[in-house]
Symmetry: C2
Subunit: 297 residues, 2 copies
Amino acid sequence: MTTSIAIADPYHSRQGSFWECVEREDPVVWGKADGPLSTSKLDQYHENGFYFDQDLFSATESSELLAEANRLADLADPADAEVVVEPNNRAVRSVFRVHQKSDLFRSICCDPRIVKVARQFLGGDVYLHQTRVNFKPGFNGKEFFWHSDFETWHVEDGMPRMRAVSVSIALTENNEFNGPLMVVPGSHHWFVRCVGETPEKHFEQSLKKQEYGVPDQEALQMLVDKGGIQAPKGEAGSAIFFECNLMHGSSGNLSPYPRSNLFMVFNSVENAVQEPFGNRPPRPEFLAERDFTPLEG
Amino acid sequence: MTTSIAIADPYHSRQGSFWECVEREDPVVWGKADGPLSTSKLDQYHENGFYFDQDLFSATESSELLAEANRLADLADPADAEVVVEPNNRAVRSVFRVHQKSDLFRSICCDPRIVKVARQFLGGDVYLHQTRVNFKPGFNGKEFFWHSDFETWHVEDGMPRMRAVSVSIALTENNEFNGPLMVVPGSHHWFVRCVGETPEKHFEQSLKKQEYGVPDQEALQMLVDKGGIQAPKGEAGSAIFFECNLMHGSSGNLSPYPRSNLFMVFNSVENAVQEPFGNRPPRPEFLAERDFTPLEG
């Protein structure tokens, strides 16, 4: 990649020792108010960058999902690249590609209550960019620092534009004390270019603790001064849809209660990943699927 | 210390590989309802182990206290034993003995709004067992795991009985996102014996990250199942009084906003520290004062 092409990329990042905060060049809501969400909900999503559904799934459904998640964790082999363990011990932190490992999760990823909302946000057909279950064990679940997923997906995976949405479904209660997702409302309107170069095979470390693609503290301060911090909390079965460029993070879990969430990312079929925009080979497909078949549902 | 004496100590701890949770043998409230706190507030303190005052100090007073705390941090020498820096960088985390370093803090420690409450809880004259300012810097202020202060003060400092109270005064807002104090209501009714021996000069590490005197997870689970977790939050000037044996901890601070608190411990003059109940020499006096002069005020 030459410098001139790199600069033509509106979302270039990690190209040296400078950072900056620039306005987003893409729509937030690509679809129309033709359901399932009302215009006012779409407007809120546009403004804040997330949409919280207090009871997307019933208690029965979410307890089945939790049992399935725990089954996958029990089966997980820490030596498997698709399994991430805590940095300081061997507890399972994430299992990736759960839509391939479980019929139940495959069907949930195609559930109309989710896919139709994703399609509405993204304006048309969507495919699964990534799925995983995140486990944040009680007492020592580790924090995850602020970041924009899009920054990584663009630089390391080749996602061209901001036209993807993540859904995090609570499989256990997400409360004030077990490290719930924290978001910076409105931060998705800004793209924070990060300093540094991406090291080779960065993902092997970054899934545990990210060191590149970390936004500058001054940028974070500005975004939080503007929008504050919110941590939507809810029972198992609640879900948060959040825009791919929304700044988010989570604190550690000192409480005795695990925080387990099912996480899936929908990308527009018109935004399929290409070659990465950084100077590295693409990451493995469990992090950025390259099967762009539109989802039914 | 012989084994028979050790076993006669109702609060023996760190004597091998077993833990247990036993009932407290001391009163919680040693004084009477002769003011400043009402009977119902004393009853709450008895039951929960803490008392939260939303506005103990005015905004003007607390901004003066914050300025003084920041002045001490600026003057602090990281090589000074009375200064604790963050494990991963050199940011000042605590400055001890602030009642000796600052006239303002000395006078605040004798403020009747605090001392009279301490005297009421402890039933008579009190002296200063420890003072410090805790700084939890924005973005990377580290967590502190659950612990009972009394367990350490008994084993490492020789505090005989549970007859001390801590006061933590917010010098900056303490909110959901900057790692406020978390307490387990009711946990002070139980003493959790911890496993392990205390290593020599344990305090040099334990002020950064405690590895001994850490309660067993099963004990913590039981206490939280009984009493839940609460994190009293408030503006600068709010204060929490908490009993020396109350289980408490705090999460890290990922927010951009520092959490700075002034912390002081009052001990009953009838409970003055002796030889430590563990098999180690006493810790330095900045951690456990041995001047038992009763406080005026």
